[in-house]
């Protein structure tokens, strides 16, 4: 979805406030961070679903809210959607009914942090593209979670790395299924993204899943359809 989180290239935010050096600005933010990770460890949703929950915030609220407000909001949404808490419980702060789930112990927390969640996944179909290929990002205007930012849609870039196949974040967020898709690093000339504002030779690199990409030939063919 191209919600308020899709910020690349947007104007009007002013200078970077470099005084914001810390990760946690308020004490409650530590709690939100820890509760989000700890609840994630219950295994009821994956990281991409967690990201999607934050992105679904009302755009005005997203932009007005601080980073950990997004997290708090996302966590509340997930807990309610998965039937782990009710809206009434959120309001009262008191439990009305138990759940069968078991909290991650500190030892389990250490294990999960240590092993992480690798996303590399074999079994993808043969790769459609190779390093050096020119590709165009498709203009799929999905309302679901995606890692293709608006500012590269319809733009042409060159594949500079093939990172193998990884869990496709879009599918993972939508259904929870771990579907392998090839992941490429695509280089875009800053000039092609921002025209005059950019210095010739500067570039922006993005990691893009294969379903986001079409070949240059396909792109040209789609333009020829205009004459039909």
């Amino acid at each position: 979805m191209n919600g308020a989180h899709d910020l690349g290239g947007k104007h009007g935010f002013g200078e970077v406030d470099y005084s914001q050096q810390e990760n946690f600005v308020h004490a409650w933010e530590e709690k939100v961070f820890a509760m989000t990770l700890a609840c994630g460890m219950l295994g009821q949703w994956n990281l991409d679903q967690s990201r999607f929950a934050r992105e679904r915030a009302d755009p005005a609220e997203y932009l007005a809210g601080s980073y950990y407000e997004h997290w708090l909001h996302g966590l509340e949404i997930l807990l309610v959607e998965h039937g782990m808490v009710t809206e009434q419980e959120l309001q009262s702060g008191k439990s009305d009914s138990p759940t069968p789930l078991t909290a991650a112990t500190p030892r389990r927390v250490d294990e999960i942090i240590g092993s992480g969640g690798p996303t590399e996944l074999d079994d993808a179909a043969p790769a459609l593209f190779s390093v050096g290929d020119t590709v165009v990002v498709n203009t799929d205007n999905t309302t679901m979670h995606t890692r293709a930012p608006t500012y590269v849609k319809g733009k042409a870039g060159r594949i500079v790395s093939h990172y193998g196949s990884h869990i496709f974040a879009d599918e993972h967020a939508a259904t929870g299924k771990k579907q392998p898709q090839h992941l490429y690093c695509v280089k875009f000339s800053a000039d092609s993204l921002w025209s005059d504002a950019a210095r010739q030779g500067d570039s922006v690199h993005l990691d893009l899943f294969e379903p986001y990409l079409i070949s240059l030939q396909q792109h040209i063919a789609s333009l020829q359809n205009l004459d039909a």
Binding site: G9, D17, A38, E61, K94, R199, S203
Partner: protein
């Protein structure tokens, strides 16, 4: 707060959020969905144990050990693992090298992707709208605001971490540090230099 967690509540004042967080915490503890000791452990881990000191050790090793540097640039995940760092949000690492002609800079325009095992949790500015919006479209202006004036000839490469690959910038070793030990070099390496918004000097 009557309409939580729907999408229509307004930007809440700090005291209201604090209250909301307190209620959520006691609710989750009562329902045994979180273990309070695990919450403490998570905060302690990322506040005190994991941070940019890890990344600085990686950089200093790369500056002093050419074969390590080659490994870091070819397979950063494996190279970083040899120093004992890895895991959550650093499962797939790529290291990009700053040189006299190329300056690399990292951002996550969609959220806040950041290499936790080597840099810890990101500073608030990294997650703020201004940096996320502008790092891709006007990196040179952003760098200037950080006090980094790049010569026009230096090519800027921005890395927008849109998938699960996490990027670490290998900053240039400052001049005049030929006699420094690996640990002295590590002291010079700033978090920001590994994000690509700082250029190092020996007189830090």
């Amino acid at each position: 707060m009557g309409d939580l967690p729907s999408n229509h509540h307004h930007h809440a004042p700090a005291s209201e959020i604090e209250e909301r967080v307190k209620k959520l915490e006691s609710l989750l503890i009562e329902k045994k969905l979180v273990d309070p000791q695990s919450l403490d452990k998570l905060v302690d881990t990322y506040e005190h144990r994991v941070g940019p000191k890890n990344g600085a050790a990686v950089v200093a090793r790369a500056w002093t050990d050419e074969s390590f540097k080659q490994m870091l640039l070819e397979d950063a995940t494996a190279a970083i693992a040899t120093l004992g760092f890895g895991g959550r949000q650093g499962e797939h690492m790529v290291c990009v090298e700053n040189t006299a002609s190329v300056h690399n800079m990292v951002v996550c325009t969609l959220c806040s992707c950041y290499p936790w095992p080597v840099l810890g949790l990101p500073p608030a500015w990294y997650k703020a709208s201004s940096y996320r919006a502008r790092a891709v479209s006007e990196p040179r202006e952003v760098l200037q605001e950080f006090g980094v004036a790049l010569a026009h000839e230096v090519e800027v490469k921005v890395w927008d971490s849109t998938a699960e690959i996490r990027y670490l910038v290998l900053p240039m070793r400052p001049q005049g540090t030929e006699d420094y030990s690996e640990s002295q070099l590590a002291e010079l390496v700033t978090r920001d230099s590994m994000i690509g918004v700082d250029v190092l000097s020996a007189s830090r």
